[in-house]
Symmetry: C2
Subunit: 474 residues, 2 copies
Amino acid sequence: MTDGRHHSEDEPFVEVAETVSVEDEHVADLMSHTIDILALATAVTKQKAADAADTLEDLPDDEAAEVIELMEDQSAADALAEMEVPLAVTIIEDLSEDSRTKYASTLLALLAPDDAVSIIRGLDVEYIEPLFVSMPVGYARKLRQLCDYKEESAAGIMTTDFVSLFKEMTITEVVEVLREKELPEHVQDLPVIDKSDKLVGVVSLRALLIGLSEATVSEIMEHKVAAVHSDTDREQVAREFDRYGYEMLPVVDASDRLLGIITVDDVIDIIEEEQTEDVQKTVGAGAGEAVYSGVGEKLKGRMPWLLVSAVMMLPATYVVLGFESMIKEFALLAVFMPLIAALAGNAGHQALAVTLRGIVLDEVRPDRIFPLIRRELVVGLVTGTAIGSIVALLLWLFGNGALETRLGLIFACAMIVSMGISTLTGAAIPLVMKRIGADPAQASAIFLIMITDAVAFSTLLGFAWLTLQWMQGI
Amino acid sequence: MTDGRHHSEDEPFVEVAETVSVEDEHVADLMSHTIDILALATAVTKQKAADAADTLEDLPDDEAAEVIELMEDQSAADALAEMEVPLAVTIIEDLSEDSRTKYASTLLALLAPDDAVSIIRGLDVEYIEPLFVSMPVGYARKLRQLCDYKEESAAGIMTTDFVSLFKEMTITEVVEVLREKELPEHVQDLPVIDKSDKLVGVVSLRALLIGLSEATVSEIMEHKVAAVHSDTDREQVAREFDRYGYEMLPVVDASDRLLGIITVDDVIDIIEEEQTEDVQKTVGAGAGEAVYSGVGEKLKGRMPWLLVSAVMMLPATYVVLGFESMIKEFALLAVFMPLIAALAGNAGHQALAVTLRGIVLDEVRPDRIFPLIRRELVVGLVTGTAIGSIVALLLWLFGNGALETRLGLIFACAMIVSMGISTLTGAAIPLVMKRIGADPAQASAIFLIMITDAVAFSTLLGFAWLTLQWMQGI
């Protein structure tokens, strides 16, 4: 709604998602022509948490810390939760350095425990203990416990901020509990436990709502509950959510005792992260590398794969070396080498990307791998024929004589063979990696380029060598 | 639980996610040594919908259709909803061909309307009308209407199978309604409308549960509602869900009338699809291409970009052509060309992947683009120096004389420059594309290779040319 209408609290107000809200405009306005931190803090407090986080991210780090200090505690905490973790870490560290440890710990205590933990994990060790000390003892103990779980496990992403019910409670009693306790967002199913904390069921809000008030929880709950163990990998957790459409999964320990819950909104972030990680892995950038990682971390992730890639180029280099004297004679071959290598590599990449996507989206059915491979081969042969013919035709039309025409024919033949092999290889690499139990994405692009380059040079130079007398006969 | 314990319906049973269920084992067992379709159908009926869909996908298409026919209607429909759309389409078409149109339309009518529509969109035109005719008139009209919306819009993914409340209802009345109507999964917030179907609020199940039974919906509802317009792009819808952590968004028309709702589980699929599309786009495979798309469709998506890629190789080819006579003299240069091009290309790809990821995860802050670019440049220079030195050292140690040593030095210098420029380019391309309003992913890998190849060849051959007298002086 950009028409400037203002609505009082009790008047219905439908806010359609793609419009810029009045609050956002006000903030943009303030940021453009004032450095009045107090006014800005008041305005940011009124933004939605995700938008407030954006505003703070756009400020220099120290100004962001100043604004956070002046915001209402709960709004500040909400914005902190939505922010890139590294910035949130910087802000908490800034506050701690300014002897505002108490305020920093208040903010952390206002966060959902899982969000607090991901910030604490990023803090410099020296800041952590003072923060725990100035927190309420019980909450500090809870956070310490959560920090002990592995970051990539189900327990590492669960929240302990949830409401669970005892199976003996009546609906009337449940309603009393819910009137007192705030339910976290995104929760419509409540876990049910017995006296020894063991998970025994889940009950939906709908069932509670339509049930008779004297019914007990165990009468209306689902007895068959899906749950995950605390040490399950978080990627596996994300797959379970996606596959079975869960909204919430309880996390249990080895004796089925309830430890926490994972909600679908946390899982969306994981799916995004894991998928974009896959792309980085194909080219051998470290899976954990973020755009603002330090140079050292970037190097640590990438350098090994670049070295592997250098070693992997040996076959292609060796092929060219074998034909050194022929290249001396027909240096024009060296002109075609990059062209055929780039096109074969690109065609292979296309096949690789499509196949990886099929694997990620779980569409590659084991009994239909052969048709997939065959289809890619056909695509390679057809595109190779088309592009090879065009280049040969151009050389015949605009070349300086018989040598160019003959080279064009050789190029076209080499193109067909190497494009065919490249698409085949692009589709096969992730399938083979998956079959042998490796990560289909890991360094797949690097393996691909080794093969496509070696094939492209072998076929081009090989065909030229086979027809050497014909070429020399000009 | 693989210990073989069996649980009666009312005994608590926690099923931890990663184990294979008794039902799945039974199906695997049946599939391995019998072709008793009836037994299989009975067993598949007992599986979870997503697992049943998997089982059916593993069968030949005609057998899958036979099994579906013998399954309980609701289980068959649930499996159909979970299945790859092309297979579901094939099954409905098979049923229609066997004059089982009535059964096919029964299955479609049991699906959530959004799932039914995505199958209908895939059907051959001849099958659609007969299916609509054998459906209840009201339901057919609803589906027809949904089919009219654009597939990529909010309306194309919304479901019309939801419960809405009138704002004048009391909680007691709402409970009556909910006792009669099944709530769709994943719904904890119910949209509230007025007499003219206009969306005026949402009310959560929790608010209904803890509210007093004589309160009216408008007293306990949220008046400020986020919603999307029916023609909003579905990618935009997915972004809204991810950003603000919505569980459900109502879809409204231009006059704020409620048309349907979008739930978070549909959005997870969209996020997955859109992200994997991005990878395909970088190498110029069609965004919509699936692993089992036909050869024609694959060619249509890829061929144009391969042609673009051929044209884009002209600068690199031109560079090499310019140095033809020098290559005749030092054919060893042609041996190093693929090595430097592949390494520069790979380093550039790493920078590209990391930057694209940063953009997708919304981490690239406009005021911090310069540090990002600088960091990538440093990474390129460092890796170039390292790998260049190693190659130069190896050539000095194992080469056949002064020529190899000098070529090694030239190679090392060329490597440093071209790796630096490549990482810089890899980071810059998606940023520039984004700045000019283009899709940062589209064909970015193709642009990248054009630049890295041209740079790699120019620097290698350029440095060799500058030191020509030194090399000839051996």
